[in-house]
């Protein structure tokens, strides 16, 4: 019986960030909704648009898809403000909201708060407990280092992962071990590109490497970092990779930037590919 609980059918969600205009995002969200995606994750770029205002515009505009912050940092807002904002978006989206927390790009946090974030793991643990108590919401954690992964496994409702494939295997192990059989949902958010565009993938990979902690970097496939860090390629290849993630135990894969040559059609096409696969 217990095995059955862990058999998952991977679902798709859309990844957008506050560096994109709301108008742009609304088009993509519409495409994802039509294609049967589970939810939209909005990543907060600290110095871009305000994340809860942004989500509210998506929710109040009549979108019925699930919404999540993926992620915001507990360092950048007082917990009262974070709770009052998250509760509001949850009500506005009729309960289809997940609060994703991550220590955040530490240099950005430092630039904002004027001091280097200390003790991110214990700050995060306290934030999860506090916000869960204040809001009653599902809380996911964007985790990378081993201690944060362990924390996510132990207390979060879900974990959002990104990084090289062998790292992901290790990360899932740590989460599973810490969860002691408790259900922790697993979301993969690596760069995504439907189609071929080597130049763009190299650029994206370079950006990802800049913010990758050493623990994850150690697992890199240095011969082909692009393929290791991006879910990319023609439809068959991407479908095969997603099937691989499903086997590893992921519940959800994020179709995020840079999407494909035409983001809207890449999002729609992915819906067809994964939807079809489910039917067969």
């Amino acid at each position: 019986m217990s095995l059955l609980l862990f058999i998952t059918v991977i679902t798709l969600s859309l990844g957008i960030t506050t560096s994109m205009t709301v108008e742009e995002s609304k088009t993509l969200v519409g495409a994802a909704e039509d294609a049967g995606y589970t939810r939209v994750w909005l990543g907060e770029d600290i110095f871009h648009r305000e994340v809860f205002t942004y989500l509210s515009l998506l929710a109040a505009g009549g979108s019925s898809i699930g919404l999540g912050v993926g992620v915001t940092s507990p360092y950048v807002r007082y917990k009262e403000v974070l709770a009052a904002s998250a509760k509001a978006v949850s009500e506005l989206s009729q309960g289809r909201f997940i609060l994703g927390l991550g220590a955040g790009g530490l240099p950005e946090v430092e630039r904002l708060t004027g001091s280097r974030p200390r003790k991110p793991v214990s700050v995060m643990e306290e934030a999860i407990k506090d916000l869960r108590e204040r809001t009653g919401l599902s809380i996911y954690v964007g985790a990378r280092g081993p201690r944060m992964l362990e924390l996510a496994g132990r207390v979060a409702d879900g974990v959002i992962l990104s990084g090289p494939k062998r790292y992901l295997d290790r990360a899932l192990e740590i989460v599973d071990e810490a969860s002691e059989g408790r259900r922790v949902r697993k979301v993969l958010w690596n760069a995504f590109y439907l189609g071929e565009n080597e130049a763009l993938l190299s650029k994206v990979t370079e950006v990802m490497l800049q913010s990758m902690p050493p623990f994850a970097k150690d697992f890199m496939d240095r011969r082909d970092p692009e393929r290791d860090l991006c879910v990319a390629g023609p439809p068959e290849r991407v479908a095969r990779e997603i099937r691989g993630f499903e086997k590893k135990g992921f519940d959800e894969v994020v179709i995020g930037p840079p999407y494909g040559e035409t983001p809207e059609s890449a999002i729609a096409e992915m819906g067809e590919i994964i939807g079809d696969r489910h039917k067969h």
Partner: protein
């Protein structure tokens, strides 16, 4: 004189979706959304009101620059202006000292922080003609606000108090009068109105209290609020209704608005719980 209406994040979104378009249809000029530790945060409320109305100006009235980082205040409005154009207003204030302290925030050097927040917001370049006002009740804040911001929103309901506050302006600027309001009789909302007024009185400025010999009354109201002794507030009903609320029949409220217009006030904001009674909204809109 413009008439604005305040609604807060204590209303459900489904209620906000009904009331906000009604306020716009009735011809009021602004919807102001307040902030409190007990309400939904103002940004989602302002964003959804903007989505559900078409041209009325929507403002944060007020938002605390201690509770919220200036970054987030600026970014929230930049996000809104980018989508809807210039139909917003920002009103800043330090916020309620007791709530701030309860959250572990010490509101140190409020005037300096206001100055910094104002200049940070001004640097944006992405806010169109979004005015930034300062919510004020003390003489220093009124003076600074009138000098540095596009205007001040005075947290007073009584003409005598407003007259005193106007004397504190360092220069003539846009002036709003922002007070809790209630059209009576309204048994259902009287308690909420009494509380709103009690919080304004309890948070009032010491210089103002001395000027109007209110120190003892304010101290006693503070004790009542701290004890949570709601029935004791009823003993203060007369003072609170007379001095800290814009309350009365339709005729009396209209009379109060005329007095403010005569004092060259630019906007009166009828604060919650006024708008929670649709008939009151309707009556005042027709009378205007």
């Amino acid at each position: 004189m413009e008439i604005g209406i305040n609604i807060n994040g204590d209303l459900s979104f489904s209620r906000i979706e009904e009331v906000a378009p009604l306020i716009e249809r009735l011809g009021f000029t602004h919807i102001w959304v307040g902030e409190s530790a007990h309400f939904k945060h103002p940004f989602p409320v302002i964003a959804s009101i903007a989505e559900w109305t078409s041209c009325i100006r929507v403002g944060s009235g007020i938002i605390s620059y201690f509770f919220n980082r200036p970054l987030h205040i600026r970014k929230a409005f930049e996000t809104l202006v980018e989508v809807f154009g210039s139909r917003f207003a920002i009103a800043l204030a330090p916020g309620d000292v007791n709530s701030l302290r309860a959250a572990g925030i010490e509101p140190a050097r409020p005037l300096k922080r206001l100055e910094e927040t104002l200049s940070y917001i001004r640097e944006s370049g992405l806010l169109g003609d979004t005015p930034v006002y300062v919510g004020a009740s003390g003489p220093k804040m009124i003076a600074l606000g009138s000098r540095l911001a596009e205007g001040v929103l005075l947290n007073y309901a009584h003409p005598e108090y407003v007259e005193w506050a106007l004397e504190q302006l360092s220069q003539r600027t846009y002036v709003g009068v922002y007070a809790p309001a209630l059209m009576v009789p309204d048994k259902k909302r009287e308690r909420a109105a009494l509380f709103a007024a009690a919080y304004v009185a309890a948070g009032s400025n010491p210089v103002f209290q001395r000027q109007f010999e209110l120190e003892e009354e304010v101290a006693s109201i503070r004790r009542i609020l701290a004890r949570g002794d709601f029935s004791a507030l009823a003993d203060k009903r007369e003072l609170l209704f007379e001095r800290f609320l814009i309350a009365g029949s339709e005729r009396e409220i209209m009379e109060r608005l005329r007095v403010f217009a005569g004092m060259d006030v630019d906007q009166v904001i009828l604060g919650a719980p006024f708008a929670y009674n649709v008939n009151a909204l309707d009556a005042i809109a027709r009378a205007l």
